[in-house]
């Protein structure tokens, strides 16, 4: 997240606590919907701040969100989105790369730490047995990373686009199915393709690559 958006996000999270229980569900739906919109994170947080102020002022007058926005909430959000500048194709690419590098920086060490080879390696190290500290990277792991990335993006997209009708049963069922498929897919990939070793890397190199990915993400999020 861009530092400016992050600062606003922190402030908004604080203010958010003052929103009443009655207004909270609908307010959250609106913010989730805006999250999926093609507008910058800074604009999202600025709108959130404005909206929070409007809701808190309405609460102070003894009114609710329904007095503030008469009618269609989705249409209201769509109007806000239409009033703000769209992300440029360049910004979209930067954001997509940013998310990818951040996810890789997290997934790579996790999948490494969870692998059987790492457990064997640690066993050897603690028992004083010789070990070259080389970690085999398998096709299963590589595909699992790709699968998790793709599935996460699809799930986020699904949640944001259906923010206003998530209560309906078929949405819940579909979301559950999607999540279930993701876990089953990752499990199957890891089990069935774990014997195909693509290449081996020293454990410190893997950690170094993860750190490099994290740093790339840190640079990209400021752009």
């Amino acid at each position: 997240m861009h530092p400016k958006a992050k600062a606003l996000n922190k402030l908004n999270n604080q203010l958010d606590k003052q929103i009443s229980k009655e207004n909270q569900p609908l307010f959250t739906d609106m913010m989730v919907y805006l999250r999926g919109a093609d507008i910058s994170e800074v604009d999202q947080e600025l709108v959130r701040r404005d909206m929070t102020e409007m809701v808190l002022s309405a609460q102070a007058r003894g009114e609710g969100l329904e007095d503030l926005i008469k009618g269609d909430y989705k249409a209201f959000c769509d109007e806000i989105i239409a009033s703000l500048p769209k992300k440029t194709p360049k910004q979209k690419w930067i954001d997509a790369l940013d998310i990818t590098f951040m996810a890789l920086a997290i997934l790579l060490p996790i999948l490494t730490l969870l692998s059987k080879d790492f457990i064997t390696m640690m066993g050897d190290v603690f028992a004083g047995r010789p070990n070259d500290l080389m970690m085999p990277i398998t096709l299963g792991q590589a595909l699992a990373i790709g699968f998790i990335l793709l599935a996460s993006l699809l799930i986020i997209r699904f949640i944001t686009k259906t923010a206003f009708n998530i209560e309906t049963t078929w949405h819940k069922v579909l979301l559950g199915l999607l999540a279930g498929l993701v876990f089953a897919g990752i499990f199957l990939l890891l089990i069935s393709l774990n014997h195909i070793v693509l290449f081996s890397l020293h454990i410190l190199v893997i950690l170094g690559i993860s750190l490099a990915f994290y740093l790339v993400h840190k640079v990209l999020e400021r752009m």
Partner: protein, 117 residues
């Protein structure tokens, strides 16, 4: 009740006019419009419009302390906004006079055709 389709073209101009009188914020604008006899325009209807006017440089926003907690966004009109307001009022006057002529003329035509019978 004025249909929302009819509002679309003129609400921008009316909001600009309210802001041109003094620096103000969303809720106050909706209340001002109500006081002038406009059918109820919710604050939520005005908010996207304010974002658009601000983006187009017709109004400028400043955050000021509010008694509720978060700082409130106050708007003032810019020079470009004043020019736009003049253009809007000019167009409106033309439109209003055309409608007036059409409807008055229509009534006269109707009475003429009645007297001819």
């Amino acid at each position: 009740m004025i249909p929302s389709q009819m509002w679309k073209g003129i609400l921008d101009g009316c909001v600009l006019k309210v802001i041109s009188r003094e620096e103000t914020y969303g809720y106050e604008i909706s209340e001002a419009l109500k006081a002038f006899g406009f059918t109820e325009i919710a604050e939520g209807t005005i908010y996207p419009l304010l974002l658009r006017l601000e983006r187009n440089g017709l109004i400028a926003a400043t955050y000021r302390e509010s008694p509720v907690g978060p700082r409130r966004k106050y708007f003032s009109i810019t020079d470009a906004g004043l020019t736009e307001l003049a253009t809007f009022y000019n167009s409106w006057t033309q439109l209003a006079s055309a409608i007036e002529t059409l409807f008055e003329g229509g009534a006269q035509n109707a009475s003429q055709s009645q007297s001819a019978q």
